[in-house]
Amino acid sequence: MKTKIAITGMGIISAIGNNVAENLKSLEAKKHGISRIENIDTKLKDEIFVGEIKRKNQALREELNLSKEDNFSRTSMLSLIAAKEAIKDAELNLDENSSIGFINGTTVGGMDIIEKYYNDFYDKEENRHYIHIQDAGSNTNLIAEHLGINQLVTTINTACSSAANAIIFGARLLQSGRLEKVIVGGADALCKFTINGFNTLMILSDEHNKPFDENRKGLNLGEGAAYLVLETEKSALARNKKPIAFLEGFANANDAYHQTATSAEGKGAFLAMKEALKMAEISPSTVDYINAHGTATENNDITEGRALQRLFQDKTPEFSSTKPFTGHTLAAAASVEAVFSILALQEQKIWPGLNFTKKIKELNLIPQQEVKTQKIEKVLSNSFGFGGNCSSLIFSRSH
């Protein structure tokens, strides 16, 4: 028998709020979190817009009761905040013997700290302890330790689809019977490394990002973290915990076209969506809302759009990209948008795609621009990344 994957908790921190409730409030009020960058002193500060969390590292550290010697990068602090909220929401008791897994997604790990102290490490001893967290996994290990998780812990980096693949692996671990509960998601903080990296690719917009618009100029980077608690339905029932939603289907496919660009017809995107629908055993017409990847780069939106039109023919359901709210949070994007998808199911509301004015010439796709209340049973969420990594997730409503 198929193991049903229940979602029993979620947590988030993004440019539009420090927790689930705040994020929901911003979505409902169409209040975006895009601004000029304040926390990082970068030469690009007047050229780009970002989805920045307006809290300094010191404030995050204080909220988490961490000391400066605790080795936490900004990314890991964001992780800890969102993961703690998810654990609380799921009413999990993390005692030392709990066999809860933790699958994290991150692209930068401790990069924000390494770039900051890059030349100081040799002369000064005081910041050297941060060297321990220069790789992604050490950050995850540290988060796990603070959460009291010591069993199956791992990290995925498939660029912008990292959290989607963390969710998929977590679900498969539950289906295999190896775990009953697993915390899955991703986190990335803004840092100079990523900002400058995307800048060299010339895909950063100097305006607020406008997905699926003919005159889109590129993406705004964002930062954030979001986690879900996945649990077998049986485990949730056994402890009388009502699921907040279910994960019905998922798939991962590779575009295998180019290191950074996607194929003209969006082959990887098409395959991922198609396979996810197949696993959920539903037809395209039963999808009520699509939370698109929609980064607002020229390449992504046209190819994702073509893949949508191919799969849904001329009946593409209501869709939008929520990146105009949060910016593109990279490794966290899929889990941030998983939270938004679950909120759509809970509130029976479709979230608007902001900043849209003109349809892409080659496509017949117009994103929803208002908060629209309607019956929503199933949501499809897309996340695609460099290296051709494409993943799609399907969430369904908990009744």
């Binding site: 060299t200 690719l201 010339m202 180019h258 290191q259 950074t260 660009a261």
Partner: protein, 85 residues
């Protein structure tokens, strides 16, 4: 102009790590993209850096590079007309 072309060839070989090539292997009118040298979109971004760093020319839209980077000839002409260093 001839010096600029030779200089450009050397810079391109270095920036794009075309270690099997010498400047003599690249003809002035040879296509850089598509056929000829078979460069791709990532190379185009590298060429934009060369324009900026060595000749003080800023391209804000990579699409503009298409005509400029057609060949060494077109690139040298564009640099000649627009350089600020």
């Amino acid at each position: 102009m001839e010096n600029l072309k030779k200089e450009l060839k050397e810079k391109i070989i270095e920036a794009l790590n075309l270690e099997d090539l010498t400047p003599e292997d690249i003809k002035d009118d040879e296509l850089l993209f598509g056929e000829g040298l078979e460069l791709d979109s990532i190379d185009a971004l590298e060429l934009i850096i060369i324009l900026d760093k060595d000749y003080g020319i800023k391209l804000d839209d990579p699409k503009k590079g298409k005509k400029i980077f057609e060949s060494i000839e077109t690139m040298a002409n564009y640099i000649n007309e627009n350089r600020s260093k």
